[in-house]
């Protein structure tokens, strides 16, 4: 993409209303714009990152055997009356009347709807087990939206729902999602700590939250230092034994920790850090199958109510969490897996024919090699271009200047490590073409 034809409104000023670094950087780097309190438009660069996060979440859901569908954002209040949650849910639920005065709502979650959809066609044990998921915009009318997309009102969420014949099946589905979550966060370059969680308004008996460790997290997490020793490779290869190991180690969100009379972790091994909750999984049994009228025929001919779980990931919130975990004074440092472009080309002198020809050639060659590239072809000062590149955090910067070109070299900078290296154009291309 040529920057001269793109839409990347970066700003030098730090927005006054942004308190945390991810919010500041998302506004400054032109990733999002607020359009109403807690509601954001995703500008081109931000949308690319959002789609990359979404893709990784999707791949891991598919890998776990979950099947994707898409439920609408607007739901009927009648569905929620069936489960009893229409009255139980607080003012976070955005409720309205349609033109025929029917009570509707903007879905904050989908247990009722997915159970109703599944109940319409599931007949027997042969239709189970099944895990269905979607990635859809949700709305929670936060009293005080803040921290940018971290606690916005309209947000993108992946929510999955599992249906099993019995508790044992539910446990297997729960573990499959647990593994998917460990892999997802590891692929996003994040260190996630699963903590045993209270189940809250969804109800149920087994639940874990996944917290990303970052100084600006909304709540503290207390955990056994051994959790920090689990490697990324171990998480990417996670299986039931990884879960057993992780859940065997102490980890609690602060409110729960406060209730623990005798913490089993010796003081010198007890760590506490702030955490950003990015995932939440629940095994809640038959709560919704009972209330929404879902039953299937078991092998012995009897009717049974499937055991269910639900599994959420805050897709849009993850973007904020990634930035909280990966930035420096210059701006964002994207992990390669979610970077909006892999390479940024800086043409130092758009008014110089040699620089422009070399930059154009590099751009075309990288495009041809399938390397996502943002080409700063604007007629601007080099200093401003460097600042923009650092701010938007692409993994690699390729700098084309007249002095280097005269010696037959360009400069390659690694954004994360800050290392710079002079290379011939051919070597630079070879290095960047995966």
């Amino acid at each position: 993409m040529r920057l001269s034809r793109y839409f990347l409104p970066v700003t030098k000023e730090t927005p006054a209303d942004a308190q945390i670094v991810s919010h500041k950087l998302m506004l400054r780097a032109g990733l999002v714009r607020q359009t109403a309190a807690g509601i954001y438009a995703w500008l081109p660069l931000g949308l690319k990152v959002l789609r990359n996060i979404e893709r990784i979440v999707r791949e891991e859901q598919d890998r776990a055997g979950a099947v994707e569908l898409l439920m609408p954002t607007v739901q009927s209040a009648d569905l929620w009356r069936q489960s009893g949650r229409y009255d139980a849910y607080g003012p976070e639920m955005l409720r309205f009347l349609d033109r025929h005065e029917r009570e509707m709502l903007y879905g904050p979650t989908n247990e009722e709807m997915i159970t109703a959809i599944f109940a319409e066609s599931a007949r027997s044990y042969r239709d189970l087990p099944r895990t269905l998921y979607h990635i859809q915009w949700k709305f929670r009318d936060e009293r005080r939206p803040r921290f940018g997309v971290m606690r916005g009102r309209e947000f993108l969420m992946k929510d999955a729902y599992s249906f099993d014949l019995d508790e044992e099946g539910l446990k297997a589905s729960y573990e499959a999602m647990f593994v998917a979550y460990l892999r997802t966060f590891a692929r996003l370059g994040l260190q996630a700590v699963p903590v045993r969680a209270p189940t809250g308004p969804i109800g149920g008996n087994l639940s874990h939250e996944f917290h990303i460790l970052a100084d600006t997290g909304e709540s503290a997490v207390f955990y056994d230092a051994a959790i920090e020793e689990i490697t990324r490779e171990e998480l990417l290869a996670a299986d039931a034994s990884t879960i057993a190991k992780l859940t065997g180690l102490y980890a609690m969100e602060e409110e729960e920790h406060a209730k623990v009379a005798d913490c089993p972790v010796p003081a010198d091994r007890l760590r506490t850090r702030r955490g950003i909750e990015v995932g939440h999984i629940f095994a809640f049994g038959t709560k919704y199958s009972a209330s929404m009228g879902l039953s299937v025929q078991a092998k012995d001919g009897s009717q049974v109510q499937p055991h269910m779980g639900s599994y959420g990931i805050g897709v849009s919130r993850l973007m904020g969490a990634i930035i909280e975990a990966s930035h420096d004074e210059g701006g964002i440092v994207w992990p390669e897996s979610v970077a909006p472009f892999r390479v940024g080309i800086v043409n130092m002198r758009a008014d110089d024919q040699a620089c422009t020809e070399a930059s154009d050639g590099l751009y075309q060659a990288l495009q041809a090699a399938g390397v996502e590239t943002l080409y700063d072809d604007r007629d601007e000062r080099g200093g401003a271009k460097f600042a923009t590149m650092d701010l938007i955090g692409l993994p690699w910067q390729l700098v084309v200047g007249p002095k280097g070109l005269a010696r037959g070299v360009v400069e390659l900078k690694n954004r994360a490590r800050g290392e710079r290296e002079e290379l011939s154009i051919e070597s630079a291309l070879a290095r960047l073409s995966r």
Copy 2:
């Protein structure tokens, strides 16, 4: 995908409330389920088709130089007050109050928001021309939702907005989108007729609707027979001359046609067919830049209000239009470009070891070759499997039965042409691996 692990609730019964064939087939083939009046959940097979349509729409927008972003579904009423449309828009707009009693709405379109976003950063002629688009869920509270996704309330739309310095620039942007639309519909396997349209509530001075010819269209289209002679190849290679040719030929929606005193087309060349409106483009000039306060500095230093256009495609409606245009008594006949899977494998005897081994092998080989395949591995009768395959309309069916296998062959059926052919497993694989 193995059907035994998928979620494909097909039904034999024709749903009582569905009037038109696409609505019936979308329900029967398990593409969608209605969750409230005019609101649908997209089941896995339907979602795959929707994503394929979306991908083609996106590719042609990108090809035309438009830049993708994503605006939220919920908008502030204040934005719409600025343009004067908050009061002008009818009861189709879904309005509500948030918990702080602020007036909000579910966006039916985005002229106001995109103009406000663009105005925040556009400063000079160097920031123009620019066309921005998004593909997002919209809501129009139809008084009487009907025809399934064709006239639903929550629907997926691609809407693009162009910003140009002057009328000439707007004309160029309008033509670029016109070309993108011709290519998009041709790639979707559809015959689209562009008709000169009244501009309606968006306002403006130049507008075309794109109608897909199908017997169940909501309005009639009158056009010159010469339009039918324009080939798919011509449309795929469309440029300004194609537009000149097309717009030089008479084509009017019935209400407009009725106003024409002397139709220039001789009676023997005047055709009339029902049309489904799937696209609508407008050049409306400075209406929104003026009302939303967008101006930029021109080359001569003066401030000018950009000339704008907006360009919509009904992405979810297109699925209905494609089915209306491409089905037979057995079910849907997907064009290859949007088919949810390219190949369906029918294992005629899941209880027969040879059949299952051969089917498993074909499935794995096709997966490895990157061919999207739905494998009916269920323990069901062959007849039911054939009916399902015809109903869901995958382009190719590969039938593995015990008699054929004994002779070393499988049967390959082309869904559109109904042709069947016996082939060795190797030849079938070679044929299907693109």
